[in-house]
Amino acid sequence: MDILHWITSHPYQTAGLILPIAIPLILFQVLPLLVLLERRGAAFIQDRVGPSRAYIPLPGLRIRAFGMLYNATDLIKLLFKENFVPPFAYKSFYWLAPAIPVATGLLTPALLPWFSPILYQDGAGVSSLTGTLITTSSGLLLLFALGSLSVYGVVLGSWSSNSKFSLLGGMRASAMMISYEVSMGLSVLGLLLIVGSFNLTDIVEWQGHHTWGMFVQPIGFLLFLVSMFAECNRNPFDVAEGESEIVGGFHTEYAGVKFMMFMTGEYLHVLVASALLATLYAGGYELLPFPVPMLADTSGFVPFLTTVFRPESYLSLDTLWVKAHLGGVVAIMLGITAVLVFVFATLIAGRRRNYAQQDAQDRDMRLREYGIYCSAFTGLGVMLLLGAIACGLFMTTQPLVAAGTLSPQPIYPGWVNAVTAVLQFHIVIGKTLAFAWLFIWVRWTLPRFRYDQIMGLGWKVMLNIALVNLLITAIVAKAIGGGR
């Protein structure tokens, strides 16, 4: 009872305790979506249908769930495979290696800001709940540090396998990842120079006040993007597992659950890299690429690239604008989602029509299945639309405490903060998936680089461009901003 009372009277502190568990778990929820996106994306780019055979058998019906079941079947298959350890392997590191990428991949989300800092009234004073789990002034550095530790998973896995293919893959991967860490750090320095902080929340807030990082630092953005491809070992930089040359690369000798952990780590890194790109260069949880002209009672419109960032005014204009017009924003977001759901239902109806013309053994079952999907998604769309209308009509927000009395920012009631946080979380996830789609898209477009080309690109091209970009940024920032 005491605990329940404490929870109800301290909702923000409770949220602060729940979030450290929730955020890595939520990233695990996004992981199957990414795997599905990769499979379907690959299939659609290659004019194939993609995963469509695993199903749940029901009487007279087969639920395929758009190929989503493949994740479950993969999991079951890999979990029940024999946990084989090659007799020539170096046992301890062979077991240790797959855990390292997963561990670093699960730690990094704790450093990313998932929603804007929430101001709440704590007794007579004002406290804040930040969207990062680990609030430190060197958040980005810590992220890079964790990224550099994840290389050990590849190196130890390859070395302990005691196989030539593995060793070759591991050496390629480690050399490439070390090389591209240099250009990664240098390419992001330009943005840090403008923002003036290593704290990721500060960086996102700066973007909310001014504009997205990719418009301020287009060259830095491209360089960082390419470095991220290399850091994630994704095509065109996937020499670590060049299957045409060295079989499976560093995880040639791995099977079953340990292989699954390597794969999980890889996909987690894609997600984390996408989230990092979204945070640094696409505004993070900020909704719009440009700040919205604000109500008169707050600080007003901040012109592009002029003022120095003020950490004390911690809520950005965008977030404040969202909170002030929460009903309208939620209505628009739900409306867009409803339209997307309707489009999806139409696409399924097209599949159904196409299937009706084919002479297939399971035609009737397919038609029934697609019919159920169509009606379910149409119903969902209608409900979303009704919800959007209801939110637009009835959801009005009033701050509990106006700006200036307790804090420079207005303090909103808990449900407004919660809805905004959920909305911003979905914005981050949406941007992350957009960047993840970029990873997949590029993977099925470009051929693999040769190893010497990768090294040449990293050391001779990208490093130089990053340095020149940094120099020009420094000069321009000094000229415009006056320096700090």
Binding site: Q13, T136, S137, L141, S148, L149, V151, S158, L167
Partner: protein, 193 residues
Amino acid sequence: MFHSLDHLLGSAYFTLFALASLLCGGGLLLSKHPINGAIYLIGVMLSLSGIYALLGSPFLGVIQVLVYAGAIMMLVVFVIMVLNQARDHRVPRFDGFSIVGAIFPIALAAMVVKTLAFADASTIDPAAVRGEIAPVAATMFDLTPAGPGYYLLFELIGVLLLVAVVAAVMLAKRHLDSPAAPAAPAEGDHAQH
């Protein structure tokens, strides 16, 4: 609510990290294969970075992970991997000379402990500045004549690193006029003989 826990947790974490670093150090001493030693050393470094964060230098802790554990040790592991014949089986791990040699460090440690134990009881200054990025940068690039003048050292270190990189390239090249160092020197040797 949680601030009262901080004192307790601080010493608990310190004990944990200290024990971890000592255990990893012992593991380094007794490890058969240098790659084991490298992993133990990474353990030492990670524990020390935790201690740095506890002692109010989070920036130093992050740099320790980023540069020491992430870059330097990565380099060491990479070279061990490349040479791939580094297993310690030809030499006895401890011989008579080394046992005698071990007396000196033990004596040294004992002397340090004795000195510290009989020194005045010193405490951590509560006004000590927390080593976040901003104050560290302000001190490092303090250009005033009264400042500590670390910026000069900073530039010198930059030059030193450059020299080290050039020197490493020159050393790793087989002959000075050869186009590039082969990736795996051991195999190159076999090819030559």
